[in-house]
Symmetry: C2
């Protein structure tokens, strides 16, 4: 399947379909004025646009953060002269991955406590660590560590929910990723607020500060869940989101505990409650959604709720098996997420793709129920649509922002390769990602991070972890 | 937890507990006579012996393929002078992984057909490819490719079942791994035999040729399953195994299809049939075991059957969720395996560990049901016991053969590290393995394969795959 989709940039270029190697000669005085920022090449370019085009020996032309053209490498090379070229040998080019649900700073707590019952884990490890240690320094270091791991693994956009959102935004601003950052709303004393009203008030401040500051950063509200907020507080959060023209991310229908709590407290399920109080009157990103009924799935479709599936977290802390195949079949907008590293224990979207497919297959006893292209879509264009950025990112299409990765296919586990998409989903891991571009800027090139001082972050993270470990060991002696 | 377990080697060494850096001076003319082959060091040494000792700043002394001593690095360095030292900074030392069930040569078919119903997959892709292409050349290239991936990922022993076992044995002999290699017994025309009787006859020849040839290679019988062999043929295979004093590997209780076939054909389940015909009268490695009843689990315990759990394959081709927690609880000897790359699509034992834990947790809705140390044991000492090599390998203990790996903990996904074992299970992947030692010989050092010409193997594998792909596309047009 080959397709050519050339879009002329604002500068005149001569149309030539003859093959042509990008050479130094193109950098002549005449050509310099026409020079674009970047060309990314690949043995295959997987566009993930509606028609699922795969270009063999393809390339993408990028200027000022925008995708100008995608097509055959020979055509692109003939059309454009670029300041920088990422060569394509043994490289697959595809849209950057969209991590639809994370708690980035919690990467500082990865592996702090595993194989525990949920309440033991929360009450004796996570909550004490957060109460004692979560401040802007924790959030800065933890988020930098997470961005490092996410860029390294090919994630270009994430939807985060944690405390001190200004600090998260500063890190994202600096490292070059794209993010929707939730101001957490929770009705308890948290590291950055006293109660729900206080967290909404502070959230409004965050949203006003970041609303038009950086096109890569979208500040949103993050009401935690309906077991940490009452109906009035959920309504107040939605009202603030509508007033400030932004969206919301929330944990919804995650665990049997939540299911029971919601029925006991509100006389209905989480989705029914949200529908009944107008919580879905604005854009919503609902993480987990493990226990929706058929009726609730209809509500999710009608209200265009973006649902983020987190298979590793759902398996590891035993939340349950989400009816992903049914939701996709019904037309729910589905994305994938890693959740926090404290319940994962990494931020590997490739593993989320694999598990999304494997878990549905074995649960339904049907190897056909969830295919590699379906989960690749959830991790890219589908996820972008689920979080409300479908017009901006998620696929390699002319006019979209250039969030694009190169995956190296030179490792033994890619030998041989019969089907590129099945290899991306069933074999590829974080360490195969070679280069990462967000908004047209190269954040990682040939596995070298360019926007994060990884040595400093590793040292700071290790020092902080030593303090946390000492404190928790004292507590649980 | 620290423990010292020093065993004196056959040469006299002065006992000094003072810290001492291994230096060039130790290689003096006097010391040369006492020099041992190898010392492997690590920030942590995880022994996986009965007491689950973890040595901080530990080391292992190795000579003539045997583990001489394990303990604190300072003590080992003071005791021994070695011809080669693998330094321990940012390295975890642990037993090599035991892949209890594989079809190594099928790595040439990885990703050839995914997301298909079992019969479509078998009849339109796997069987036609095997009929047309499986010869000694296919098996040689595919097994070399698999050994490359397995060594790279830290697997030191595998239990294989495929055609042309002499070719498999030649590859294992040459690349330095340890393997139990099954002569496949199947009652149909296969690439290397006409029917069950012919495959048993040829299997006996293979076992006689390899029985005492190489201590790393154990030739065994591999009756395929009870839906490709009748009761008499299964009995005949066991009789041959007893006569030649060797063991058997078999697929057992894998799928609902097998369950139904066995009941329809034999009037009982696979395990009941095996028990009733004396099939368990010698050592048995039973792969998959997804559908055993409580009564069958009792039989598996009593008959000391080694059961190999293959979670990725069971999920991907929708075979079902094995009652691993119940089998462990009952005392079944449990190991882990990857199955063939055609249904996985890689040979990554780290992913098998993760999935073994995750799948039990979500299936039982209990995050405590399967812990990281439990699955690490299945992949090492437990797996070694399950395949009958528990006295020889599987743990770092004085007197055992030196099958040992170093895992690099310098990647971002290991920052921070609170618990080494939970990181090994929930985070580590194939690409983190730094060095691999089998039988005291270094097969990979700082990620460089030393016994396989990877460039040649990659070229041969890609060329072979191109032929296969062309043929299958013609067939399925």
């Amino acid at each position: 399947m080959k397709r050519i989709s050339i879009c002329f940039s604002f500068v005149f270029v001569s149309l030539s379909l003859a093959a042509c190697n990008p050479s130094q000669e193109q950098g002549s005085s005449m050509a310099d004025a026409d020079q674009i920022d970047l060309i990314i090449m690949g043995d295959y370019v997987i566009s993930m646009d509606g028609s699922s085009s795969v270009y063999k020996d393809g390339a993408v032309a990028i200027d000022e953060g925008l995708i100008l053209a995608v097509g055959d490498a020979a055509d692109i090379s003939a059309e454009y002269s670029a300041a920088e070229i990422l060569p394509g040998e043994n490289r697959i080019v595809m849209p950057g991955l969209v991590n639809g649900h994370s708690h980035a700073a919690m990467t500082l707590l990865r592996g702090v406590a595993d194989d525990l019952a949920l309440m033991d884990w929360l009450n004796n490890y996570i909550f004490p660590a957060e109460v004692q240690f979560v401040d802007t320094e924790f959030v800065r270091i933890g988020t930098e560590l997470a961005c490092w791991e996410m860029i390294r693994g090919g994630t270009t956009t994430f939807v985060d929910m944690y405390y001190f959102p200004d600090t998260i935004a500063q890190v994202v601003d600096s490292c070059g990723m794209r993010a929707m950052i939730s101001a957490t709303v929770i009705d308890q004393r948290s590291p950055d607020a006293e109660n729900a009203a206080d967290s909404i008030r502070k959230g409004i401040g965050f949203i006003e500060r970041w609303k038009n500051k950086n096109s890569r950063i979208t500040p949103i509200f993050g009401p935690h869940a309906n077991y940490t907020l009452n109906a009035e507080q959920l309504k107040a959060t939605r009202a603030a989101a509508i007033e400030h023209d932004t969206s919301i991310s929330i944990h919804m229908s995650e665990s049997p505990f939540e299911l029971q709590y919601s029925k006991d407290t509100f006389g209905m399920t989480s989705v029914e409650l949200a529908e009944s109080i107008g919580f879905f009157d604005g854009p919503t990103i609902a993480a987990h959604m493990v226990w929706p009924t058929e009726e609730e799935i209809s509500i999710l479709v009608e209200r265009k709720v973006g649902v983020i599936h987190n298979p590793t977290s759902n398996m590891k802390i035993a939340s349950g098996i989400s009816p992903v195949a049914e939701m996709l079949q019904a037309g729910v907008r589905m994305g994938l997420g890693t959740d926090g590293a404290a319940s994962n224990n990494d931020l590997d979207m490739w593993e989320e793709m694999r598990l999304a497919a494997f878990l549905q297959k074995v649960d339904r006893m049907d190897p056909v129920v969830m295919s590699a292209p379906t989960v690749l879509k959830m991790a890219t264009s589908g996820g972008a649509t689920a979080i409300g950025l479908g017009d901006t990112i998620g696929s390699i299409e002319v006019g979209k922002r250039a969030d694009i990765i190169q995956v190296a296919f030179d490792d033994v586990h890619h030998v041989p390769t019969y089907d590129v998409i099945s290899h991306l989903v069933y074999v590829t891991d974080e360490q195969d990602v070679a280069s990462v571009v967000v908004d047209g800027k190269v954040l990682m090139k040939d596995r070298q991070l360019l926007t994060i001082d990884t040595k400093r972050v590793a040292e700071e993270a290790k020092a902080f972890a030593t303090e946390i470990q000492t404190a928790l060991y004292e507590l649980n002696r």
